[in-house]
């Protein structure tokens, strides 16, 4: 029974393969082996560099998650103690909740707004190229630089409060980044403002693949605007949806620059995310072991959520 199943599975794989050239033998086979060897030969330096520069330091860093290293001097193995300390909760729980709030809001807002902008600027608007450029412009700017500009905007005596005062909305004036109830929305606004242009471009690329004739045909068949979007446009741009949502989820969950520049995680930890906590524990408080453990946990969360999102999107696109 097992053999039959394997045979069937193998058969399916054979069917799925691209047709191959005839079986290699003699000089042709030697040439193939040489080609493969050459491929590896050229590939090895890059692979070595990648391992030594990227993977090895990360692996050594991960090793320190099981130590009490303070960033200097000697260290001892502490087993799972750092992970137990994380599980105890406290500030790390707040950071985890904030990470989820920011990550999910960021994915939803960038994708909804990016899609709406892309649909609006796809074909009909006359000066669409100029508007697209203006919306995309923040993407190319440094996130630190833009965050400092927004910090100025959100200041007590900054332009936002000045504007609110000038239009008679004195009651809405507040310390946007110093108030625990407004700090997260303020950070999310800055992040969405900077990234929505990128998502818009991804959706514009997707929309370019939708045939106008198909849309016209659906329209002639009496399909409403929503039906045209849902049954014609959306299935065609599904690859863009998957890419945009995955990238934005990862960026949202690991956000650091904007928060560090805008609030440093304050007020009193109200905007601290996992990435900011890792930085603070590691480089401010000198708890490298704990910071490394927290970094591993954050990576795990990002991987699980990203994989779950991919599976969800795959299921819905098939459905």
């Amino acid at each position: 029974m097992t053999a039959q199943l394997e045979q069937k599975a193998e058969g399916a794989r054979v069917i799925g393969r691209q047709p191959r050239a005839s079986k290699k033998n003699g000089r042709e086979g030697d040439r193939g082996t040489e080609r493969r060897f050459a491929t590896w030969w050229w590939f090895t330096p890059a692979l070595l560099a990648l391992v030594l520069i990227h993977y090895a330091p990360s692996a050594i860093g991960a090793f320190f998650a099981f130590t009490n290293w303070k960033g200097l001097g000697k260290w001892q193995f502490v087993g799972w103690d750092n992970f137990a300390a994380i599980a105890e909760g406290g500030p790390t729980t707040t950071a985890l909740i904030n990470t989820f709030i920011i990550g999910i809001s960021f994915v939803v807002l960038t994708n909804v707004l990016g899609l709406l902008l892309a649909l609006g600027l796809n074909r009909t608007v006359k000066s669409r190229n100029v508007i697209r450029t203006l919306i995309f412009a923040p993407v190319v700017l440094s996130s630190l630089a833009t965050s400092y500009i927004w910090k100025f905007i959100f200041e007590q005596g900054g332009p936002l409060n000045e504007f609110l005062g000038s239009v008679g909305l004195e009651s809405l004036k507040r310390t946007w980044l110093g108030d625990p109830s407004t700090v997260l929305p303020a950070i999310i606004i800055v992040m969405v403002w900077q990234n929505v242009g990128l998502v818009m471009v991804m959706y514009l690329a997707g929309l370019a693949t939708v045939s106008p004739e198909l849309e016209e045909a659906a329209s002639l068949d009496g399909a409403s605007l929503w039906q045209r979007f849902n049954y014609v446009v959306l299935p065609a741009i599904m690859p863009s949806v998957v890419i945009a949502m995955t990238l934005m989820l990862i960026n949202g969950l690991r956000v650091f620059d904007q928060i560090q520049a805008l609030t440093g995680g304050g007020p009193y930890g109200a905007s601290e995310t996992l990435a900011v906590t890792i930085y603070k524990e590691t480089f401010v408080l000198g708890r490298f072991g704990f910071g490394a453990a927290l970094a591993l946990v954050m990576s795990l969360i990002i991987i699980i959520l990203t994989v779950a999102q991919r599976l969800l999107l795959r299921t819905s696109s098939k459905g």
Binding site: I60, E155, Q156, G157, G266, P267, A270, I303
Partner: protein, 445 residues
């Protein structure tokens, strides 16, 4: 080596697993693969006669466009020792500590660099010395002579010396005397008087203090000034008692410190939006006369005077509950340490010995806008700070050490600073903040 071809490429599930594993490694840590270790070298220190270049690293100097104060001394040293060139390297002030730690571990640290006394922040010398990165200076008589008797607890680590103090930065209130005059306010002699003055300033559309709620370093300075009178005037040995576990932050007068901050807040002493204000807003607020004062090291007044020519600025001490309780915080906290793995230790020690000479320390303090150690020891009142006269004339009675230098790790001061931001926003109570400080303290060095 046999290469992998498409024939034996992993299945989609396998590829997913590899991708996940790769992503795990990639995103796992942005932490460097740094190892600790004992790098202290026992190589004999030789006199160098040929051309030598040594490096001195300090935090970036922000003294109103003036040159780094060390430059004048470097030039004077070069005139006497033409074979030794001292290269000055600056790093951003808030990153100096971490930069030095990273460079020491990587083996490319400067020969001589700025540190602070004790172990209460990430620039402190003690943890670097314990890890074996600093040259032992115990045998250098001039190094021991440069440490005032009152500051031995800040510099001696198990009878060994690893750093030499440079100058002394009193922690004060930086005042715009023009604003105080405009509001008709005299220097307050008690905290109650100060609270009343806050209300007067508020009624006139100004606030007494500007604080940077987002900067734990700034809010912490304010708390330490309050603690000078509320905690240390009554019990100068409080830190020794805390170290011996005879007291805690939660069960001591530190609670009064945080309660006083709440009183200031309720009286409108702080500027609007103080909880969300950054460090960059402090000096402009004082310079433009929007507030009467800010908490800062006394040396900052020189930079302010240099930048705002038509302003009148001074430094004063935050009063205590009673006038006689007022204390000034001033410790010789700015210091220099020698890299144990430096290649030119002979020349480096020669330069440090030059800097440790009283006349050169005086010159450095003057250029920094700080107080020289010789002035502090002799009880000479620094001419640039006339309002500090009552304190420098009775240093043993009226000057206390900067508390955080004596705390075991940077987490205690960080908890104090961020906790005060929580008090300003109403997110935390004094008890919560003090409990966190105790937890951090009990983590040890």
């Amino acid at each position: 080596m046999k290469g992998r071809t498409m024939k034996n490429a992993p299945s989609p599930a396998g590829r997913r697993f590899l991708s996940v594993a790769a992503l795990a490694s990639l995103t796992a840590l942005a932490l460097g693969a740094c190892g600790g270790g004992d790098t202290n070298s026992n190589t004999p220190i030789a006199e160098e006669t040929g051309p030598v270049e040594i490096t001195l690293a300090t935090p970036a100097f922000t003294g109103g466009g003036a040159a780094n104060p060390y430059q004048t001394l470097i030039d004077a040293f070069k005139a006497k020792n033409p074979n030794i060139t001292v290269k000055l390297v600056e790093s951003p002030a808030d990153q100096h500590g971490q930069t030095m730690r990273t460079q020491l571990q990587a083996g490319n640290a400067p020969d001589l660099f700025y540190v602070t006394a004790g172990r209460g922040n990430n620039q402190s010398f003690a943890s670097l010395a314990e890890a074996g990165y600093l040259q032992d200076l115990t045998d250098q008589k001039w190094a021991a002579d440069a440490i005032p008797a009152s500051a031995k607890n800040l510099y001696y680590d198990e009878d060994k010396v690893f750093a030499v103090p440079a100058d002394l930065a009193p922690i004060t209130m930086l005042q715009n005397t023009g604003v105080l005059k405009e509001l008709g306010l005299q220097e307050p002699s008690t905290l109650d008087e100060l609270v009343t003055q806050c209300k007067t300033a508020r009624a006139a559309g100004k606030s007494y203090f500007a604080v940077a709620g987002t900067s734990g370093a700034n809010t912490g300075l304010q708390a330490m000034q309050l603690a000078a009178s509320l905690v240390y005037a009554k019990d100068p040995q409080w830190d020794a008692k805390r170290a011996n576990k005879e007291t805690t932050f939660a069960d001591s007068d530190w609670k009064k410190v945080l309660e006083q901050i709440l009183k200031f807040k309720d009286a409108g002493c702080y500027q609007d939006g103080a909880a969300g204000a950054g460090f960059d807003q402090l000096f402009p607020s004082v310079a433009q006369g929007k507030v009467a004062a800010a908490f800062a090291p006394a040396g900052a007044v020189a930079a302010l005077k240099a930048q705002v020519k038509d302003g009148s600025f001074d430094v004063a001490v935050l009063p205590g509950e009673k006038a006689e309780d007022s204390r000034l915080i001033a410790s010789p906290g700015n210091a220099l340490a020698v890299n144990a793995a430096g290649k030119h230790k002979g020349s480096t020690l020669k330069f440090l010995e030059f800097l440790a000479q009283p006349a050169n320390q005086d010159a450095l303090a003057k250029a920094n806008g700080n107080v020289s150690i010789t002035s502090a020891v002799s009880g000479t009142v620094p001419e640039q700070f006339p309002l500090l006269e009552p304190y420098f004339s009775e240093p043993e009675k009226k000057i206390v050490s900067q508390p955080n230098y004596l705390w075991p790790n940077s987490g205690v001061y960080d908890s104090l600073g961020t906790g005060i931001q929580g008090l300003l926003t109403g997110q935390a109570t004094p008890d919560q903040v003090l409990k966190t400080m105790d937890e951090q303290y009990d983590r040890g060095a």
